[in-house]
């Protein structure tokens, strides 16, 4: 019983970080119809900025703020300087299906190399903002720590902020309208290209938070966020790629599911677990768990 509860709590903590990455991917997918593999690179680069600030000031939260700003700027920059150029050249022929995937993979590689050349490959770590020691309740100590609580709280705060932005503000309405029907949005006077860039900036900032939170209990290296990308992507697909709420639910399902595999089956099977969860979801509900009758097709 206790193990079950622990697994659930840790699962929520892990899943909440996946949720941020998955949201970042969904945001970009909805507006640009591109699965942005470079998101891992953008988050990593931003986390390096966060690391610099956090290690100098010895304040995690200052680092987090720096990472968010860096993430937003990098995200906007990628859209403005890269995606716009790519889309101006309407690509046809056999490469049309792979071109966007390849372009973002190329960008991931580019950012990775730049980070590697600048900071090197050695592992960096950031002083966590809370204790990583398990909480003690009565006589027993569980692996769920104060840091886990803080992670869940931070993610919740971000999610609430995003929900307010998207549901209650004109910016959010513009973002949704531009994603659903760019032409109509433009006819309504929305500057859709600019709105899309703002969407990329938000995605970049959200991804940066994910990067910082992972790094708070793990190390940072040019490769350290690859798994986050993969799991974030799986979560987004579970959620149907279109739905922001779906992606968060998908991430929690995945986080809890993987933690169960970790605690009850075996450490090495966690990775393949993601694949199994994904395949099952896709074969049972090909458009994701949030799909109503007529989901949009890619």
């Amino acid at each position: 019983m206790q193990k079950l509860l622990e697994t659930l709590l840790i699962g929520v903590s892990t899943g909440s970080i996946y949720a941020l990455m998955s949201l970042a991917l969904v945001l970009v997918w909805r507006s640009t119809r591109v699965v942005n593999f470079a998101q891992a690179g953008q988050a990593m680069l931003s986390t390096y900025f966060g690391y610099e600030i956090a290690s100098r000031s010895e304040i995690f939260w200052l680092g987090l703020a720096a990472a968010i700003i860096a993430g937003a700027l990098v995200g906007a920059g990628v859209d403005f300087f890269f995606m716009r150029v790519l889309f101006k050249r309407a690509i046809s022929g056999p490469a049309a299906v792979v071109a966007p995937v390849i372009a973002t993979l190329g960008l991931l590689g580019l950012i990775r190399s730049i980070v590697g050349l600048t900071w090197g490959g050695e592992f960096k770590s950031i002083q966590a903002p809370a204790s990583k020691d398990g909480l003690t309740i009565g006589q027993t100590t569980i692996p769920f720590s104060a840091l886990n609580i803080l992670i869940i709280a931070t993610v919740s705060l971000i999610l609430i902020t995003l929900a307010i932005i998207f549901q209650r503000t004109n910016l959010g309405l513009s973002l949704r309208a531009s994603a659903y029907a760019p032409e109509i949005a433009q006819l309504a006077g929305i500057r859709t290209a600019r709105t899309r860039t703002i969407g990329w900036a938000i995605a970049g900032g959200v991804g940066a938070v994910a990067g910082m939170l992972v790094t708070s209990y793990n190390f940072l290296s040019p490769y350290s966020l690859d798994l986050l990308l993969v799991f974030g992507f799986i979560a987004a697909v579970i959620g149907g790629l279109e739905s922001m709420v779906g992606s968060v639910i998908g991430a929690l399902v995945l986080g809890i599911g993987l933690t169960f595999i970790l605690n009850y089956v075996g450490t090495s099977l966690v990775f393949i677990g993601g694949f199994v969860v994904l395949i099952v979801v896709l074969l049972v509900k090909p458009d994701g768990i949030m799909a109503r009758g007529k989901a949009r097709r890619a």
Partner: protein, 237 residues
């Protein structure tokens, strides 16, 4: 002159010439009906005027300012609203959100709310559906919502693409009556593209008949209605 002046407008889709040598003008406050059969190029004309399609040559001036080549969102800012073909609403958004969308660019929340109130006065049914998703509306209600969204932008020139498409006759009548009422009340200049020639000409000041991408006749609406040859060839009775 003030108003809309289109001259020698041409549009090509790749090698296919969709429109050539289109010229007509509409005075401020007038309603121009652009009539033609399917594929005549009416939609292309409106899309060129609102910046959605690129014109290959010619000019179009709104109050003596060139509008060809500008982005659609920039044209909204200079008072031109385009209600595109097929009930241009966003089904994923609520009715209220669809309306608010038209006012965002002005950045004046209270004025947007006032404009929405005016739209609700015009189309009371929308007022009852405010928080519903636009997906749940009937065809006629969607058309009202699309026109309403354009009105929230407080346009001076309105480009309407086939508002009667796929609607029941009684609803069509209602929509046309509203359009007529609107432009009198607000002093709107309207370019109305229609296949439904008679209903459109009945409320129009001038008419432009397009066939195979070219203007074949233009004049006051009553002239066109009274010309027996035109009636037989293009108006269908």
């Amino acid at each position: 002159m003030s108003g809309l002046a289109v001259s020698e407008l041409a549009v090509s889709h790749g090698a296919i010439v969709a429109l050539r040598g289109i010229s007509f003008s509409v005075q401020v406050g007038q309603l121009a009906a652009v009539i033609g059969s399917n594929g005549a190029g009416k939609t292309t004309l409106l899309r060129a005027l609102s910046g959605l399609n690129k014109a290959s040559s010619g000019s179009a001036q709104w109050n003596e300012r060139e509008i060809l080549g500008a982005r659609p969102d920039a044209l909204v800012r200079s008072g031109i609203s385009h209600v595109s073909e097929g009930k241009s609403v966003i089904p994923e958004l609520s009715v209220r959100e669809n309306l608010v969308l038209g006012g965002i660019w002005r950045g004046d929340k209270s004025d947007t709310n006032a404009a929405i109130a005016e739209v609700v006065e015009l189309f009371p049914i929308l007022g009852q559906r405010m928080s519903q998703s636009a997906d749940t509306l009937s065809g006629g209600e969607r058309q009202m919502l699309a026109i309403g969204r354009a009105l929230v932008s407080r346009p001076k020139l309105m480009l309407l693409d086939e508002p009667s498409l796929g609607l029941a006759p009684i609803v069509i009548e209602q929509i046309f009556a509203t359009i007529d009422q609107l432009r009198r009340k607000l002093g709107l200049t309207v370019v109305l593209v229609e296949q439904n020639a008679m209903s459109a000409l009945e409320i129009a000041d001038i008419g432009v008949i397009i066939n195979l991408g070219e203007v074949v006749a233009s004049g006051t609406a009553s002239e066109l209605i009274d010309d027996p040859a035109l009636r037989a060839a293009y108006l269908g009775y």
